[in-house]
Symmetry: C2
Subunit: 230 residues, 2 copies
């Protein structure tokens, strides 16, 4: 039986979750096909069998897993003969540092740029849940969280200068070829790109060019994905 991936779905089939994108890219990197099963915020019963309530959930034969980092490690170990996601034990360990930075530092900054767009890009049945949980998390209304993003974007871009430094020395965050460290950081940009028209990166930015290289991978897997813009 093919691998199954349960992933978050917005209106019009848009897949926007940065965690799910990490798994999508990891599967493609390993050359693995998967049946994609869309899950709305309000479809938690669909993944109750996983013993928790968050996507991505991956089912591979008798194995059921959640958490994108756990899934990446499983794919690396189980499909060890396929292209590596981490390039060795050191790469795996330090990619966890980048993964944590993404979740704790970069993710919240992006969320504050697009949180109202997400609200507007998900189905009505999900909106109440989304508004309640996110307003509680940020201690503010969705409207006020996102307000002023045009003034914040320059600081956001300046804060990513260290990534530009790296891309001045090697073509990918993972080195000569893309791998999981790239997918981690890419997932945040793909999240925004999927569900918001607000542009996080300037067209002349080294990071914009790097993002385009990741978008084009695997026959344009991420580039071709549905966005809220259609």
């Amino acid at each position: 039986m093919a691998i199954q991936l349960y992933e978050l779905k917005g209106a019009g089939g848009c897949r926007f979750s940065p965690y799910c994108w990490r798994t999508r890219m990891a599967l493609a990197h390993k050359g693995l096909e998967a049946d994609l099963i869309p899950v709305r915020f309000s479809d938690k019963d669909l993944i109750a069998f996983s013993g928790q309530s968050r996507v991505p959930v991956l089912v591979d034969g008798k194995t059921t897993l959640s958490d994108s980092w756990t899934i990446a490690g499983y794919l690396e170990d189980t499909y060890a003969d396929r292209p590596s996601l981490f390039g060795g034990a050191g790469g795996r360990a330090v990619s966890l540092v980048l993964n944590a930075w993404m979740d704790k530092v970069q993710g919240p900054l992006i969320a504050q740029m697009i949180v109202l767009d997400i609200f507007n890009g998900i189905e009505e049945v999900d909106q109440k849940y989304f508004r309640t949980t996110r307003e509680q998390r940020f201690g503010n209304s969705l409207e006020d969280i996102q307000a002023g993003r045009a003034e914040r974007i320059e600081d956001f871009r300046a804060g990513l200068e260290f990534l530009r430094d790296v891309l001045g020395k090697q073509p990918f965050l993972s080195g000569e070829a893309p791998a999981y460290a790239d997918y981690i950081v890419f997932s945040g940009f793909q999240w925004a790109r999927s569900i918001s028209r607000f542009e996080l990166l300037d067209a002349g930015d080294t990071l914009h060019q790097w993002r385009q290289r990741i978008l084009d991978l695997f026959d344009g897997l991420a580039a071709k994905a549905a966005t809220v813009s259609g």
Copy 2:
């Protein structure tokens, strides 16, 4: 001939440069001895032979190198039979991301906590150069840059939550054992610890315990080093 390491020196012999600490730890990790040659900011002529003006400078036989990242790569390649600094090609590539984060994000935040302490911890002959260059860099007086650190420290600590997340899953940033990713982040704390009495980490902090584990490495190499406190 033994390896020679030219490194920055403050008053009383204190070695405080975070870049030089990365190299010190890398040499110890490789089990390499080095003659340490102290260089003050005003001793640039001592390292002019390296073709540039910054420490660390490493001389290994006929090879002269500067820049801590370049030196780490050289040590990894040249002493490949000794314990690895990166744990493979992936670890090396992603450690560069962490190195860039340290230099562009974390380093400046630490500098703003200790820059006046550094001024007070270097020899008088270096003070004018240090004040001029750092006030130009930050666009403010040393006194005003450092002012308010007691109010900023909580935000600083909160911003490192992602590192605590990692240390909740593995004992070192490099995985099961310490390696260069740890030395990169450690170097910032050792910088502060060497030349300032201002405590960046709370004693109960996971990061404080991790820092202690790094301080104790190599027979307490970093723990035993001279500090401004004596």
